[in-house]
Point group: C2
Chain length 290, copies 2
């Protein structure tokens, strides 16, 4: 049975964030055993707990996506001092949470979330830009619409760009934006992988192996933005080579070594983690338990 | 500023449960790096997330303590398959959450929680007994009121025992029950220790060191029930000896070894963990951030 209680939906989103950050080792990313110097595991836990009321409001589906993303970033920041934790995740989670309440039935979740992102407005774009500035996220400089430029909001309004339009502009170099344009394709694939793997693996290994599989198939654009496309391709190829090994113990050992290397280089596949959170949300909403 | 929004109070309780189980190493207990065979770290995470609506109802303070504890156990069980996770914690958290909303000011939290537990009714005792049975908790056999005996509820009603009366009966051999009788003395001491330590330690080390200090000062009655009083005393003395060392690195090393030994023996100081959760709740409610 699929519940459509808004609190149930909000808790699925909270738990998705908590399970993602806990799963270890997720090469290059923060997890229960790996911290960065300023941002730590516990900052992600506090962010996931703190954001609850915004998730519940999203489940009620009466407010705009942009405003909800802005409020999610703001609320997350009130509960921890580790800086940006879940900005990318909120971009996927907020419309999914809204869609979950609207359809209450997994068969229309994909359809409903597509409708929600396509119906976003210029106002959503403006709110989103304010959230971007607040979260202090690393971004690719775009000449025409510089995210750090205070004139950008004026130009968004002038051109009448909606949040969906903005994502379309970014889709070529950002897999999170691309999800909005492609009907959350990778997110739903990720959920299918999770729900398959949980039948035989622990929740931790399910997340780690799905993370590796996603990473091997898609260049992580958080890495492309921080380093370059070549680095992102290298990381994906390396993930793919590790998964080709036959022996699970060998795979585990290689994942650990890969993790150490990426952490030393400061290479974190953050966008892949965001898709994992969204995939976990769908899985939990569709009834996955462990 | 102390917020009295019920959602804020409920999130402080959720985060307290998440931070407690994450802190590592907590000798003998489940943490981010240690699982038992049937109950794992992620079961505690899912329980803490799942129980949110009951915590929010408790913060509204319009229902009885017994019914809320029963519902907390039931809701926790819907989100995970690891068995009992937070029963002892709920016994402390539920009245504290109720008190937080009522006073909204830390200066009266202790006073208010004492009032709440002393005002419990026979009906609270009956609901609590049903929760006990549902959670499948290890209990000390009490001849007169066997918790596994279905007649017990009849006898509670016949004797007109309130939940506070029941705790008074158990206080001599259960530190959680003793907290109800002694005005949550150890819980408030625990919160004071946490708020002192967080000034110089990470949140993880704050929890670990407070856990060790509590354990060294009080026999853990979860251990007395599962083994015997001598075992519980041994564990407390050992914790005390470790904390006497001068060098922090030495203390850390000893805590890790102590942890391995207790895990091998199946000795888990579960009641101490419950008090840590309650102490973390008070600290977060009083504004602690990290």
């Amino acid at each position: 049975m699929i519940l459509i209680d808004p609190s149930h939906i909000a808790r699925c989103a909270q738990l998705a964030m908590i399970l993602e950050v806990s799963a270890t080792p997720k090469p290059g990313n923060i997890d229960r055993d790996h911290n960065y110097s300023d941002t730590r595991f516990e900052h992600f836990l506090a962010s996931a707990i703190g954001v609850y009321p915004v998730l519940e409001r999203a489940a009620l589906s009466k407010e705009g996506v942009g405003k909800l993303i802005f409020d999610a970033v703001a609320e997350s920041g009130k509960w921890q001092r580790g800086g940006n934790t879940h900005f990318g995740a909120f971009i996927l989670l907020i419309p999914l949470v809204m869609a979950a309440r609207r359809c209450g039935n997994k068969k229309c979740l994909k359809e409903e979330v597509e409708k929600i992102v396509r119906e976003t407005t210029v106002n959503d774009a403006v709110e989103f830009y304010s959230a971007f500035a607040r979260a202090g996220v690393k971004v690719k400089p775009v000449t025409d619409l510089d995210l750090k430029d205070t004139d950008s909001i004026g130009r968004i309004k002038e051109k009448g760009l909606t949040l969906f339009d903005m994502m379309e502009i970014s889709a070529s170099y950002d897999i999170i934006a691309e999800e909005w344009i492609n009907g959350f394709e990778k997110t739903f694939e990720c959920s299918a992988l999770i729900q398959e793997k949980i039948k035989k693996d622990s929740i931790n290994d399910t997340v780690v192996l799905t993370f590796m599989e996603l990473l091997s198939k898609n260049k992580d654009t958080f890495i492309s933005t921080k380093f370059d496309t070549i680095k992102a391709e290298e990381v994906s190829m390396r993930a793919g080579r590790i998964l080709q090994k036959d022996d699970m113990e060998m795979i585990r050992k290689d994942i650990c070594q890969f993790d150490e290397e990426l952490l030393n280089e400061g290479v974190n596949p953050g966008s892949t983690a965001d898709i994992i959170i969204a995939g976990l949300f769908i899985s939990l909403f569709e009834g996955m338990r462990f």
